[in-house]
C-alpha cells in the first residue's frame, strides 16, 4: 500500500495541531499557518485524488482494532476531490477577506479566528473521509462551535445575536442527528458505514424494525437539513451571513453548510443505500422543501435592501437547488447536487468578498441606495461581482449555467412526470427571480453615481482581494468550460461511493 493513503490522517492531525499551536502565536503568524495548512491540504488532496482514481477506494484503519469494532476512514477520490475544493475555497476566503479580518477583529484576538478556521478545515476533512457515523457527529459539533466562533468574534451586539440564532438552529439539528444515530445504532449494533449498510439492507428487506429504521432516517436527514439551512429553517441565514466579517460569511455559506450536505449524501448512499432512501418517500419531502426553498429564498432576496442580506437570502435558494437535486434521483440528481455544491462554494464567497469591497468604496454603506454607481470607483470589485452574479443567474460560460443544465437534465431524464414538470418550471421561475435581483444590483452599481464622496479603490489598494477574486473567476469560468470531465468524475465517483 502506498504512502499516499496516510495523507488524510496527516491532514486531519495537521489541522488540529495548527489550531493548537495557533493559540499561543500572534495573529499574523497564525494567519500564515492557516494559509499554509490550506495549501498543504489542497495539494495533498489533489495527489490523493489522482492516486485513488486509479486504485479505487481504500479503507484506512485507525488505531489497533480492525473493522467492525475500530474507527476507520474510507478514502474515495470523490471525497478527496471535495476536500481539495473546500481547502482551495477556504484559502481564497482567508486571503481575500484579510482586510476585514484585520478591521473587524481586535489585533490581540486574531489568532483565535484562525484557530476556528483550522478547526473547520479539520471538520470538513472528516466529513469527506470518515467511515464512522459517530466520528461524523463529533466533528459536526466541533464545526458548529467553530462556525459560531468565526461569527461572534467581531463583538458587535448584532453579530452576537446572529451567532445565538445560528447556534440554536445548529444545536436543534445536531440533537436530532445524534438521536437518529443512536436509534440506528440500537437496531443495527454498528457505527461503521459498510456494516451499517449491510444490516440496514437486511432489515429493510425483512421488514423488521421498519418504524425505527425510517425514524432514524428522518432524524438524521432533518438534523443535517436544519444545519445546512433548508426551508423552513433558513431564517438564521440573512442575519448570520449579513453581519459577519466577509471571510466568515464566505466560509459559512460556501463551505460549512456544503460540508454537512456532502456528509448527508454520503450517509444516504453509504448507510441507507439509494434503494431504501428513494423508496422511503424521504426524497419527495426533500424535493418539495427544496423547491419551496428556491422560490421563497429568491422572493425574500428581492425584498432585501441590504446587499449582504440579499446574497444571504440567495444562499437559501441555492441550498434549495441542492436538496431538489437529491430529491430527484440517486444518479443524475445527486450528481447535479454535487456539482451545484462546487458551483455555490466557488461563487458565493466571491460575491461576499466583492460586495464587501464595493461597500468599502461606498464608505461602509451596505444599502442599495448608497451603492449606486459604486462600481465606477471600484472597478475590479464591480467586474468580479458581475461575474459572480452571472454565475448565480446561470449565464453560459459560468458554472451556474452548467449546474442548471444538469438539474434540468436530471429532472427530465430521471424524475417522474410530476417531478420533471416541477423541476423545469421551478428552474425557469427561479432564473427569472435570480435575474431580477442580481441584474438589478449589477445595474445599480453601474448606473450614474449619486454624487456622494466615494473612496476610489484600484487593484493596487486591494491586492489580496483581487488575487482571490481572480482565482475564483478563473476557477468558475474554467470549470464551466471543462464541465464534462468534472461531470464524468463526479458521476463515476457517485456510482462507486
Amino acid at each position: 500500500m502506498s504512502f499516499t493513503v496516510n495523507f488524510p490522517l496527516f491532514m486531519i492531525v495537521l489541522s488540529l495541531m495548527s489550531a493548537a499551536v495557533s493559540s499561543v502565536l500572534p495573529g499574523k503568524v497564525a494567519r500564515v499557518i492557516t494559509l499554509c495548512l490550506n495549501a498543504v491540504v489542497c495539494t495533498a488532496s489533489s495527489i490523493l485524488t489522482v492516486y485513488l482514481y486509479a486504485e479505487g477506494p481504500v479503507f484506512y484503519k485507525m488505531g489497533h482494532f480492525p473493522s467492525p469494532w475500530g474507527n476507520e476512514l474510507k478514502l474515495t477520490y470523490l471525497g478527496s476531490l471535495f476536500a481539495a475544493i473546500f481547502a482551495t475555497v477556504m484559502f481564497l476566503c482567508v486571503l481575500g477577506g484579510k482586510k476585514h479580518i484585520n478591521l473587524d477583529i481586535e489585533a490581540k484576538k486574531q489568532n483565535f479566528y484562525y484557530i476556528m478556521i483550522d478547526l473547520i478545515q479539520a471538520a470538513l476533512l472528516v466529513f469527506c473521509f470518515t467511515n464512522d457515523i459517530f466520528t461524523g457527529y463529533v466533528f459536526i459539533e466541533i464545526c458548529t462551535i467553530a462556525s459560531c466562533g468565526i461569527l461572534m468574534i467581531s463583538q458587535i451586539g448584532r453579530t452576537t445575536l446572529a451567532a445565538v440564532r445560528y447556534m440554536i438552529f445548529s444545536l436543534v439539528g445536531s440533537g436530532l442527528f445524534l438521536l437518529g444515530v443512536v436509534v440506528l445504532y440500537n437496531i443495527t449494533g454498528h457505527l461503521l458505514m459498510p456494516q451499517l449498510r449491510e444490516t440496514v439492507e437486511a432489515l429493510w428487506q425483512s421488514g423488521e424494525y421498519r418504524m425505527p429504521l425510517i425514524s432514524s432516517l428522518c432524524l438524521i436527514v432533518s438534523g443535517l437539513a436544519i444545519k445546512s439551512g433548508l426551508f423552513p429553517f433558513q431564517f438564521w441565514m440573512p442575519d448570520t451571513y449579513g453581519y459577519a466579517t466577509p471571510a466568515s460569511s464566505g466560509i459559512l455559506s460556501g463551505l460549512v453548510s456544503k460540508g454537512y450536505i456532502f456528509f448527508l449524501i454520503k450517509i444516504i448512499l453509504d448507510v441507507y443505500g439509494s434503494d431504501m432512501f428513494y423508496s422511503s418517500g424521504m426524497n419527495n419531502v426533500l424535493f418539495a422543501l427544496g423547491v419551496i426553498g428556491i422560490v421563497t429564498g429568491s422572493g425574500f432576496a428581492i425584498a432585501e435592501n441590504n446587499i449582504f442580506r440579499m446574497i444571504a437570502q440567495s444562499s437559501a435558494a441555492q441550498i434549495g437547488y441542492i436538496y431538489m437535486g437529491i430529491g430527484i434521483s440517486p444518479t443524475l440528481g445527486i450528481v447535479a447536487a454535487l456539482f451545484h455544491i462546487i458551483t455555490h462554494a466557488i461563487t458565493k464567497p466571491s460575491l461576499f468578498l466583492s460586495a464587501s469591497a464595493l461597500s468599502d468604496s461606498a464608505n461602509g454603506y451596505k444599502k442599495f441606495r448608497n451603492l449606486q454607481g459604486v462600481a465606477k470607483d471600484n472597478k475590479p470589485a464591480g467586474i468580479f461581482f458581475t461575474i459572480g452574479a452571472f454565475s448565480m443567474i446561470g449565464i453560459p460560460f459560468t458554472m451556474g449555467f452548467v449546474s442548471k443544465y444538469l438539474f434540468a437534465t436530471a429532472g427530465l431524464g430521471e424524475g417522474s412526470g410530476f417531478k420533471a414538470y416541477t423541476t423545469i418550471i421551478v428552474l425557469a421561475v427561479s432564473t427569472i427571480l435570480n435575474t431580477l435581483y442580481f441584474a438589478r444590483t449589477v445595474i445599480r452599481i453601474y448606473s450614474k453615481p449619486t454624487g456622494e464622496n466615494r473612496i476610489k479603490l484600484t487593484v493596487r489598494n486591494q491586492k489580496p482581494y483581487v488575487t482571490a477574486s481572480v482565482m475564483f473567476a478563473i476557477i468558475n469560468i474554467g470549470t464551466s468550460l471543462a464541465a464534462s470531465p468534472i461531470f464524468y468524475l463526479i458521476e463515476r465517483g457517485v456510482s462507486r461511493l
Binding site: 459517530f134 462551535i145 451586539g157 452576537t160 445575536l161 436543534v172 445524534l178 443512536v182
Partner: protein
C-alpha cells in the same frame, strides 16, 4: 400496547424528555431556558442510549476474576458514546452561556423577542 410501553418504559420517558427539551430549545423566548432545554434534550438521548446498552444480569465491561466470556459483560460502546456526547454537550453549553453573557451585556435582557426589537431599531439606524 400497554405492555409495549411498560417494556420500553425508559425509552418512552427519554423520548418524552427529548420532546420537552426540543420544544423548549426551539420555542422558549428566554435564553437561559433555551440552554436548559438543550441540556434536557441531550440528557434524554444519553438516557436512551445507556438504558439500551444495559442488559440485566450482565456485568460492567471490566474483566473480573479472569473471566473472559463475552456473554457475561455488556457492550462498552454505548457508555463510550455517552461519555463523548457528554463532553460535546458540556462544551456546547459553555459556548451558549458565554454568548448569553455577551448578549446580556449588549442588550440588558435575556428575552429574545426584546433583543430582536432592539436589534431591529439598531438596523434601521445603521448605514
Amino acid at each position: 400496547m400497554l405492555e409495549f410501553i411498560w417494556t420500553n418504559r425508559i425509552q418512552c420517558v427519554s423520548v418524552i424528555l427529548f420532546a420537552i427539551g426540543f420544544s423548549t430549545l426551539l420555542l422558549h423566548r428566554n435564553l437561559m431556558k433555551k440552554i436548559i432545554g438543550l441540556n434536557i434534550m441531550d440528557t434524554a438521548t444519553y438516557l436512551f442510549l445507556t438504558s439500551i446498552g444495559m442488559i440485566e444480569g450482565r456485568l460492567a465491561p471490566i474483566i473480573q476474576n479472569g473471566d473472559t466470556d463475552v456473554s457475561k459483560y455488556v457492550n462498552p460502546l454505548p457508555a463510550g458514546l455517552v461519555l463523548t456526547g457528554i463532553v460535546v454537550s458540556v462544551s456546547v453549553t459553555a459556548v451558549m452561556l458565554a454568548l448569553t453573557i455577551r448578549l446580556y451585556k449588549s442588550y440588558h435582557t435575556l428575552n429574545l423577542d426584546e433583543i430582536y426589537l432592539k436589534a431591529q431599531e439598531e438596523q434601521e439606524e445603521e448605514p
